[in-house]
Structure formats: C-alpha cells, structure tokens
Symmetry: C2
Subunit: 143 residues, 2 copies
C-alpha cells in the first residue's frame, strides 16, 4: 500500500528551498514534487540539460534522475535572496558532492518560488555548471 | 561631450526584456545598464561564466564583453512568463548568431525583472549553454 502523506505547506520561500534540497539528497520523488507548483508554466533546467517545461515533464526528469545509483549531497554558498510578496528568488552556488564526500563539481542555481494557496512552491529551477575557480574572463564562449 | 540620455522607464517586464536584448545586440553599455536595477542584490551569469553579484560587477562584465569585436544577434524562442505584481520571470531559449548569420549556439536564459519606482528592471539574468538537440537524458553530468 502506498505511504499516505499529508502535502506539506511551506510558509516561507526558505522552507520550500530547504525541502527541495532535502528531497534532492534523499532522492524522494514525492517530496521533491511537493516543493513544485503543479502548473504547466514551471521550468526546470538541470546542468547541461534541456529546458523542461511543465509539472509532468519535470517530474519525469526527476524520476529518471533519482532512479540512478548516484546519491548527491549539496553545500549551498553565498545565497542572494530577492523577495517580494508573491514571488521570491534564491540565487546560490551549489557545491555538489558524492556520497563518499568527493566533489562532483560546482553549479550555479537560480531558484524561484511562488506564493500559492497551498504555500510557497518552486516555479523555476535553473542550474548550470560553474567554473571551478573565479574566472578572469567575465563570460564563457557562448555570449 | 558625452551624449545626454534620459533614463528610460519600462512600464512592463516585456519592455525591459526587449530593451535588454536590443542593448546586447547593439553592444550599448549605457542602454544595457539602464535595464538593470542599480542594486547590490542583482545577479548575472553568462554561459559558462562565474556568478556576478551587484550592479558594478555586472557592469564591468558587460563592458568587457562589449569591448570584443564579436557582434551577436538573438532569436528568442518558446518564452515562458511567470508574472506577479512586483516580480516577473521570463524563461526563454536564446538562439545566438554571429553578425554573418552563422550560429554561435543555443542558450537557456532565466530573466527576472522587478517593478521599481523607475519602472521594471532586471534583477537576475542566468544564461547557460543548452544541448543543441533535445537530449534523451534529462540531465547533464553534474546533477
């Protein structure tokens, strides 16, 4: 019988962000999707991956990601918060580690949360690989 | 004598976004920075580049970028808009071209605008390289 869970209500963007990374580390698909707004206009970009649009596409990608054997740990650094009444942005550096403590790399993440009738939910997660050390050049090859 | 300009007031997030890409294509630093909020809590990530925080750091990076000989053109596709009263998100695929029309690549951009007393201004631009074709795997190597 599937485990019955009460849908959590995150009363702040910070609570939703913490729950997002906890679910990511735990590879808990239900907990992960409980941090997302159930909407067609939500966006997720994993590092180097395509832009995923809509709750179902995003859910399928997390399901595939969590089906691998790789367990990740995150250390978040230098958060920048931009908060308004209805929408909140968390920009953060993600230090990504494997379960054995070895470094997997560094990503930059832009996380955006919306206040919904059932609490704050993620509407955008955009993560991309960051240079390992502060770069002299202000940009990579694309721009 | 420097050209005197009136600071533009963007009455919608869409106007600010259009001005951002126009300034990018024109390599016009003053016009570019007029689309940004003059704040310490603003964030810019160029594809593959470090996370830049604060108006001055972001200005310096655009100045360096615009000092190169490379002129870029953008074709924006599949925009997703998340709008609230005070903050608005534009998620978009950027097809980047050189002046001769050849493709430079594809980026995913998350652009976030805030309503300020002087109109809508950018508070976050996060761009990262996108896979050239829809990828089978939901994620790159980092996550």
């Amino acid at each position: 019988m599937p485990k019955a869970r009460t849908t959590p209500i995150y009363t702040t963007p910070q609570d939703a962000a913490a729950a997002f990374y906890q679910a990511f580390e735990a590879r808990d698909l239900d907990a992960m999707m409980a941090t997302w707004a159930d909407d067609e206009e939500v966006v997720c970009v994993h590092p180097g991956g395509p832009r995923l649009i809509g709750f179902e596409a995003i859910r399928a990608a997390w399901e595939a990601l969590f089906s691998s054997d790789t367990r990740l740990r995150f250390r978040l650094e230098s958060p920048v918060a931009i908060d308004t009444v209805g929408l909140a942005v968390q920009s953060v550096t993600e230090h990504v580690f494997l379960a054995d403590g070895s470094s997997r790399g560094i990503a930059v993440a832009t996380n955006i949360f919306m206040r919904t009738p059932i609490g704050w939910r993620m509407v955008c997660h955009h993560a991309s690989p960051a240079p390992p050390v502060p770069a002299a050049a202000p940009a990579g090859p694309l721009h």
